[in-house]
């Protein structure tokens, strides 16, 4: 397995170079370094000299991919692409164009994102699987049918509606929890409970339908019939056999998102005033802060690759037939 992981990590290097290249090309197709300077320096009193000095200070005066003025290998290395990309591979994200240390910002903002995303993820997973098993238990009944209709209805409504409705009902009308805000630790429970419940509720429709279909594929298998014939209770059959055998497709969809949890949720964090990473990239795109954009795209790609590797590893834990080589 160790050799497999090393191989996957080596495969990741060209992928990350490619991701970085695409980020550079796309970003600079839309924004020029002059535009970036203006975005940072404000709309008033911006002179060409000021723009030039800003570009020099931030290294944007260098050519993008080929430095015709340089000699030898410097033609390729003394460029914006190489100078900015190399540091990323050692996770040195440098400073944002507004002058903040990006690594420090990420460290500071990932925890609030996790405080929201982790409970949402865990509670949603447990709720969705439990409800799906319940529906499988009562499959074909009126409960199953009506729950499926409700699930489709939940899926059909925009997540934004749940957020606004939740804030209006639970905070504005019933005065149960604050509309928005954040505090770390247990003191923040009152701020987190509503976004977590909304996050869980908003995902129930699709989650339950998906897990239900996975479990239904298992429920008529011979091993289930055998388990029942042995006299096991329906709960033991569902949790001990159906759930276990349904884990592979669940892991495929679930494990891959675990590392990306701390990247946060844009809308949820914006509406609930949670100081996470959700809006970090979007804000950076809007303010043309390339340093943050490239760092976050790179980090997202790394985390996704880690998620895929973890998924492969998790297969071996749940299915002894799977071997990584």
């Amino acid at each position: 397995m160790f050799a497999y992981i090393i191989r996957r990590i080596l495969y990741a290097i060209p992928i990350l170079i490619g991701v970085n290249l695409i980020t550079f090309v796309l970003f600079f197709m839309v924004n020029t370094p002059d535009d970036m300077a203006r975005a940072q320096l404000g709309a008033k009193q911006v002179t060409p000299e000021l723009i030039q000095s800003w570009k020099e200070e931030h290294g944007y005066d260098k050519p993008m991919f080929v430095n015709a003025k340089a000699e030898g290998v410097d033609k390729l290395t003394d460029t914006l692409f190489v100078q900015e990309s190399l540091k990323l591979f050692v996770f040195d994200f440098g400073f944002s164009d507004a002058g903040r240390d990006i690594g420090n910002d990420i460290k500071q903002r990932m925890w609030p994102s996790l405080e929201l995303a982790l409970p949402t993820f865990i509670i949603a997973l447990i709720t969705n699987i439990s409800l799906a098993l319940l529906l499988v238990l009562f499959r074909g009944s009126a409960l199953d049918t009506s729950m499926m209709i409700v699930a489709v209805m939940i899926m059909s409504i925009s997540g934004l509606f749940y957020i606004i409705a939740g804030q209006v009902v639970f905070s504005k009308i019933w005065h149960w929890v604050p509309i928005s805000g954040f505090e770390s630790g247990w003191g923040g429970f009152k701020f987190i409970i509503l976004p977590v419940l909304i996050g869980v509720f908003g995902g129930i429709g699709s989650g339950v339908r998906w897990y239900r279909s996975i479990f239904l594929e298992q429920i008529n298998q011979d091993y289930v019939r055998t388990a029942r014939a042995k006299g096991l209770s329906e709960l033991k059959v569902l949790f001990g056999h159906v759930l276990r055998n349904g884990m592979l497709p669940i892991l495929t969809g679930v494990v891959v998102v675990i590392p990306t949890l701390f990247m946060g949720s844009l809308i949820m964090e914006s509406f609930f005033g949670i100081p996470g990473l959700g809006s970090y990239t979007i804000d950076a795109i809007n303010s043309q802060d390339f340093a943050i954009v490239k760092a976050m795209v790179f980090l997202g790609a790394v985390l996704y690759i880690i998620g895929l590797i973890l998924t492969d590893i998790s297969y071996t834990l749940f299915d002894p037939r799977v071997k990584l080589s």
């Binding site: 940072q40 009193q45 429970f189």
Partner: protein, 743 residues
């Protein structure tokens, strides 16, 4: 299954209990603030976008100044209450004295023809001290205790609170000189360096030299101590006296002295924050300002909260007063004058929370959790009633809560510009003028204000907004090209007049006499999203009224700016917010010397208007004092631009502010941001009202728990039936379905 249900129920109950425990002491559950702070002299406010810079050398945005203006103190400030705006000393003993000098530095009369320089003398108060800060701590040798932090020491430092010692010192003249030197370092990107180089003697030469030094110091990884370098025009006479020498006459320089660019920077702080180890931890002057102002920034998490607390070293400053006559002239409410003579600041702490979305912000304001709020478009109808006469008042809901409304016209102008170098709409021929005048009449700004601004604005009669010297009220201020003064108010000329002008311009009914084709004009806009569609449709409709086709060229903001700078537009909309309340700060937008196309895009005159007579008058009034002569010349200039119509004179926006009855001394001051020190809150009243407005509604919670319990029981019964059912027994419906493999 049962276990899961039990866990869910337990979780629900535990959540409810925690919720109770957390909030019961406060009497309300939904308060985002701690109960003790609500009752105290703490102000709760919000910000929608994190500031990018808090370093006074570069900061120029209103959301940045909202913070740093509470921390820094430039030499002068605007009087909080007086209108028109009036300057007063802040850290000086009196307003700066000015001497006029000739080329040989001999003092000459103020009105002399040979004035080559103006020398401003700033006499500093001796009772002003900085906030406590680790940068001021000195060691036994007199050096900075934290001036050269080792890797080891830095390991334990993540915030300024991690420094064990703090100290402070008094303000001196060198600190103001130091700030000007920092402005000169190009690597600091000061937006006003270019402007100040034109005026402060020696700044340009100094800037070139010091920027080179800064580059070398950076390469050699050494700190830049600006005390070792001097600007010829900025002299520290003694610890409390500074002189600044200006080229020629420039009375507007005093306005610049109210801005944070001229706030004092202690050398200790500059050197302290230059340490790479601190920069790496986001501890730098850009994020943790150090000043002599009424507040200190103790928490700066731009993604969550910024917290200011009262500076324990703040000097003696008192709430201003007005004479009876002045109060009458400004129609100021008497309650705003009640604190006259009391020591500032009143509020002990200010907590700014990030609120990106308007819905939570507005609802929290209504719940009493924010002390004041603006009025967003979404909330306008709920908050404000507009009478048939256009007067604004509070809605009944707001009145019932005791909320108050205060507003003022901002020193801002929004306009639609014609590119004067464009062959169709530009130029100074009679026909081009008439085409622009026709369009100016056709575009109904009053309608625009009503539809898109909820009546929050007044139609502009020229480039100057109300409150700026040279602005004329009533009939005298009417733009005769577009309006007629009838029945005591301005009335837009009928559309027939516009059509007539268009015909005289060579486009009868919008058809070109020369080509026989309909006239099509191009409007460049960065407002290209679906939200702006209605506005663009409205613009097309305005042009349709005179038979002219308007083609919208939507583009992204970067391209839009680029086109404007290069003069590649025909029509576009733009705006300007005053730096200072002087007509020069608006009229320079139309000065030919500032035309974008002739200044490589850096000029502020984006319509590229260039009228020699206007230019001549501008050069005259630019450095004049506010005298009747200046007023007359400004009147002439406005008449010229009204006739030439390089802009469709758009509107001056009105800002509206809502605030609760416990928030005192609110008086709009559009020129000053450092007004927090004048505000006062009644914490006891706030706590009382928050309790009254936010009592939790319990019954839905009880109903929900009962519902869950009721749901569990039939499921449990069904499960039991399922477990005891026998294959083939018709009563075991679930079992039967299992056998059928139903889905």
């Amino acid at each position: 299954m049962l276990k899961t249900a039990k866990y869910s129920l337990s979780f629900l109950l535990l959540s409810s209990l925690l919720l109770f425990a957390e909030n019961v002491s406060a009497g309300v559950w939904n308060s985002p603030h701690s109960a003790s702070k609500v009752e105290d002299d703490v102000l709760f406010s919000s910000f929608s976008a994190p500031p990018k810079h808090l370093d006074p050398v570069i900061s120029y945005s209103s959301n940045e100044w909202a913070i740093i203006s509470q921390v820094y103190e430039p030499p002068l400030q605007y009087h909080y209450l007086k209108r028109p705006y009036e300057l007063e000393a802040l850290t000086l003993t009196a307003m700066p004295g000015v001497r006029y000098l000739d080329e040989q530095n001999n003092e000459v009369d103020k009105d002399a023809m040979n004035v080559a320089y103006s020398e401003y003398t700033l006499n500093l108060r001796d009772d002003i001290r900085y906030q406590p800060h680790p940068a001021f701590v000195t060691n036994a040798n007199g050096g900075l205790e934290y001036g050269e932090l080792s890797e080891n020491e830095l390991q334990d430092i993540n915030t300024l609170d991690d420094f064990k010692k703090t100290s402070f010192r008094g303000l001196n003249a060198e600190d103001y000189a130091y700030a000007i030197k920092r402005m000169a370092v190009r690597q600091n990107h000061s937006p006003i360096l270019g402007t100040m180089e034109e005026y402060i003697v020696g700044l340009s030469e100094f800037s070139k030299k010091i920027s080179e030094v800064a580059k070398q110091q950076k390469e050699s990884k050494q700190l830049l101590d600006l005390r070792n370098y001097q600007i010829s025009g900025v002299k520290v006479v003694d610890p409390h006296t500074l002189t600044i020498k200006i080229k020629g006459r420039y009375p507007q320089f005093l306005y610049w002295l109210t801005m944070n660019f001229f706030a004092p920077i202690p050398w200790e702080v500059d050197l302290f924050y230059q340490q790479p180890g601190l920069i790496k931890k986001n501890l730098n002057l850009n994020w943790f300002p150090v000043g002599t102002g009424p507040y200190t920034l103790v928490e700066n998490n731009p993604n969550k909260q910024m917290r200011l607390v009262a500076n324990p070293n703040y000097h003696d400053e008192r709430y201003p007063s007005l004479s009876e006559e002045q109060a009458k002239a400004t129609s100021i409410p008497s309650e705003v004058l009640q604190d006259a003579g009391k020591k500032l600041p009143f509020v002990k702490e200010v907590i700014y929370s990030l609120e990106k979305e308007t819905i939570p912000l507005w609802n929290k304001f209504l719940q009493g959790y924010y002390d004041a709020s603006g009025v967003s478009s979404e909330a306008f109808d709920q908050a404000v009633q507009v009478s048939a006469a256009g007067d604004m008042g509070l809605s009944e809901e707001m009145k019932a809560k005791g909320i108050q409304l205060r507003g003022s016209v901002q020193p801002t102008v929004y306009y639609m510009a014609f590119n004067m170098v464009d062959p169709v709409v530009g130029g100074y021929s009679e026909s081009a003028k008439k085409l622009r005048q026709a369009i100016s009449i056709a575009i109904n700004e009053e309608e625009y204000i009503s539809i898109f601004r909820n009546e929050r604005g007044i139609a502009a009669q020229g480039p100057l907004p109300p409150g700026i010297f040279g602005y004329l009220e009533g009939e005298k201020g009417t733009n005769p090209v577009v309006y007629e003064w009838k029945d005591g108010k301005n009335q837009r000329k009928p559309i027939e007049v516009a059509k007539q002008l268009l015909a005289e311009a060579g486009y009868p009914n919008g058809i070109s006499k020369e080509t026989g084709k309909p006239l099509a004009l191009y409007y460049d806009s960065a407002a290209s999203g679906p939200d702006n569609r209605a506005e663009m449709d409205w613009r097309r409709k305005q042009f349709d009224k005179i038979g002219v086709q308007l083609v919208i060229r939507a583009t992204d903001y970067n391209r839009f700016q680029d086109k404007v700078r290069k003069g590649k537009t025909q029509l576009f909309s733009w705006g300007w917010n005053a730096d200072y309340p002087d007509p020069e700060n608006f009229l320079f937008l139309l000065y030919g010397g500032n035309a974008a196309v002739t200044t490589n895009g850096s000029g502020i005159n984006s319509s590229n208007y260039n009228n020699p007579e206007f230019n001549r008058l501008f050069e005259e009034i630019k450095t004049m004092e506010n005298t009747p002569v200046r007023a007359e010349k400004i009147k002439q200039m406005i008449a010229i631009v009204r006739e030439d119509a390089p802009w469709v004179w758009g509107f001056h926006p009105k800002s509206l502010s809502l605030f609760h009855k416990w928030y005192k001394n609110v008086w709009p001051n559009e020129m000053s941001r450092g007004t927090l020190k004048f505000k006062r809150v009644d914490g006891a009243l706030r706590a009382q009202q928050q309790q009254a407005w936010n009592q939790p509604v319990i019954w839905p919670l009880v109903l929900f728990i009962v519902f869950i319990l009721l749901m569990i029981y039939p499921l449990y019964r069904a499960y039991q039936a399922r477990q005891t059912a026998v294959i083939g027994d018709g009563s075991a419906s679930v079992n039967s379905l299992n056998e059928k493999g139903g889905r």
